[in-house]
Every structure is written in C-alpha cells, then in structure tokens.
C-alpha cells in the first residue's frame, strides 16, 4: 500500500509527506446554542465510510496547504482531483 496524494500546489506526492485532517464536516458551527451532542458530532464523530470519503489533508513536509480530497478507504487511493482551501 503506497498512498499518493495530489497536493493542489505541489502535485502528486508520497502520502507520508501529508498529515490527515479528518473527515470533512464543514465549517465550525456557531457557539450559541450548540448542544453537547451537536458539539460532539462535529468534533469527535465519524462516518467511518468504507468507500469514498471527502477528507482534509495538510502538506506538512511541502507547501503547507490544507486541502480536501476524495479517497477510497477500501483501496487507499485518491479518486479525484482535490480542491485547494482558500
């Protein structure tokens, strides 16, 4: 198993240059009225999809970008081009 990720800045690179940043759960929720369950859902809970998942990655050893990509967790392969975070 060798992960290769496409960094929107640096191109295809060895997966070990990156840090995984979790399943994509959207922007931070507003603080007001956030219940413990809703907070926990955002912070801790995962879908653990066996299949294609949108997720965050950080090019730690490279350009320092956070970006999302789609990856198939049953194959450990990227499935489409990522989009850069603004």
């Amino acid at each position: 198993m060798a992960l290769i990720l496409t960094c929107p800045v640096c191109g295809k690179r060895n997966g070990y240059e990156f840090r995984y940043g979790g399943e994509d759960k959207g922007p931070r929720p507003a603080e007001a009225g956030l219940t413990p369950a809703a907070w926990c859902d955002y912070v801790h809970m995962n879908k653990c999809t066996a299949g294609v998942l949108k997720e965050w990655w950080f090019h730690r050893d490279g350009c320092g970008s956070w970006f999302t990509t789609w990856r198939d967790t049953t194959k450990n392969l990227e499935v489409a081009q990522p989009e850069a975070s603004k």
């Binding site: 800045v9 640096c10 690179r13 070990y16 050893d61 490279g62 350009c63 320092g64 970008s65 850069a84």
Partner: protein, 213 residues
C-alpha cells in the same frame, strides 16, 4: 573580549584554505583538494527572504518577477525568486552582497532560519536519490524549479538549478537551521562513495555564473 562573529549551522571537518570576513561571517572561499566534484558548499551567509502576501504575484523583489505558478523560479542577477504557494515566495541572494530588506510588511528576513547548502557537480543527483524520493530528474521539469518536500526525512526547499540525465547538475537546499549537523552528516555519508567534497564560495560562484550566461 568576545569577538562579534557569526556561526554557520554547518561545520565541515576540513578547514578552508582561503576565507573572507563579510558581515561578521567567515566565508570559506576555497578548500584544499576540492576534487573533481561533486561538491558541497555552505551558503549560510547568503541572505534569504520570505515574502508573503495575498497578492504576492504582483510583488517585484529586486525588480524581478514573482513566477505565476508554485514550483517555478525566476533566476537572474544572482537572485533567485521561488514561488512556494498561492501567497508565498522565497528570495535567495546568491551574490556577494544583498540589498536591504524592502520596507514592505510582507517581507521577513529568514537568513537565520535555515541551513543553506549547494550540492553540485557530477553525480549530484545520484547523491540526492540516496536521501530523497523527490524526482529531481523529471524530464517534464525545466531547471530552475522548486521542490518543497522531504530530504533525508526533513522538510526542505530544494531548487534545482541545473540537471542532466546522467545525474550531474546541482541544487540548493534549505532546511531548519537546527538540522545542520544531522543533514551534513547524512549528505556526506551518502556522497562519500561518489567523491563528494566540501567546496568554497569561489567554486559555487563560478557555477552559478555559468548558469546565468
């Protein structure tokens, strides 16, 4: 009385034959028996800038254009401008002197932040492939170009200035200053069977002069 002198993060075991003091740095100009290459030169004293701005592409450091795409470099007048990402560029001054830091908030002088080395000459990239999986000889890439990636497990900026399919050419490497001792040890070990020797600034300057002609 303590002398005001600056220390490079990198110390070679051999002493240089000729040195010159410049801005409190003791610059090695030439070593005994530098050999026929490949060579490793310590460029710690060369000024480096970090330039960040949301419109970094519109900046003109030292009157040079900032390249439009990350990974591309502008190299002229002994100055190298490397586009790192959407908002960031590094500037290396490879000549004898560097201009003052421009009065623009996006600039930071990062000369002190990094180890700065040049590895060049025959088989330079045969040494590199013992330390990094980055593809310096990618036929699709034209020198000069910038890689930001691991070299001997340490995140580096590496600018390939010259390359040929036989592995000759050369590159500049920066990494966190603290890794100086470890990095030099690793590079010299990897290069030992290929004849890698320390070289002084003279040889480096001659090399980059040739590249700019």
């Amino acid at each position: 009385m303590v002398a005001i002198k600056r220390q490079s993060p990198v110390q070679f075991k051999v002493s240089p034959r000729n040195t010159e003091v410049r801005d409190n740095w003791t610059v090695a100009l030439e070593y005994d028996e530098e050999g026929r290459g490949p060579w490793l030169a310590d460029l710690a004293h060369k000024t480096r800038w970090d330039l960040q701005d949301s419109k970094v592409g519109e900046q003109r450091p030292c009157d040079l254009a900032v390249p439009a795409t990350p990974g591309s470099c502008t190299f002229a007048n002994d100055t190298l401008v490397n586009r790192m990402n959407r908002t960031q560029t590094s500037v290396y001054h490879l000549g004898a002197a560097a201009p003052a830091l421009p009065d623009f908030a996006g600039y930071t002088d990062v000369t002190e932040s990094t180890v700065f080395l040049a590895l060049f000459g025959p088989k330079a990239f045969h040494i590199a492939e013992k330390l990094s999986a980055l593809d310096f000889l990618d036929p699709a890439k034209q020198a000069p170009f910038l890689y930001q990636g691991p070299f001997c497990h340490v995140p580096c900026q590496i600018v390939t200035l010259e390359k040929a399919a036989d592995g000759s050419g050369g590159f500049l490497l920066t990494c966190s200053r603290g890794y100086g001792d470890s990095m030099i040890h690793a590079i010299l070990e990897a290069g030992s069977s290929l004849g890698l020797r320390p070289a002084g600034e003279n040889r480096f300057s001659a090399w980059i002069r040739g590249l700019q002609e």
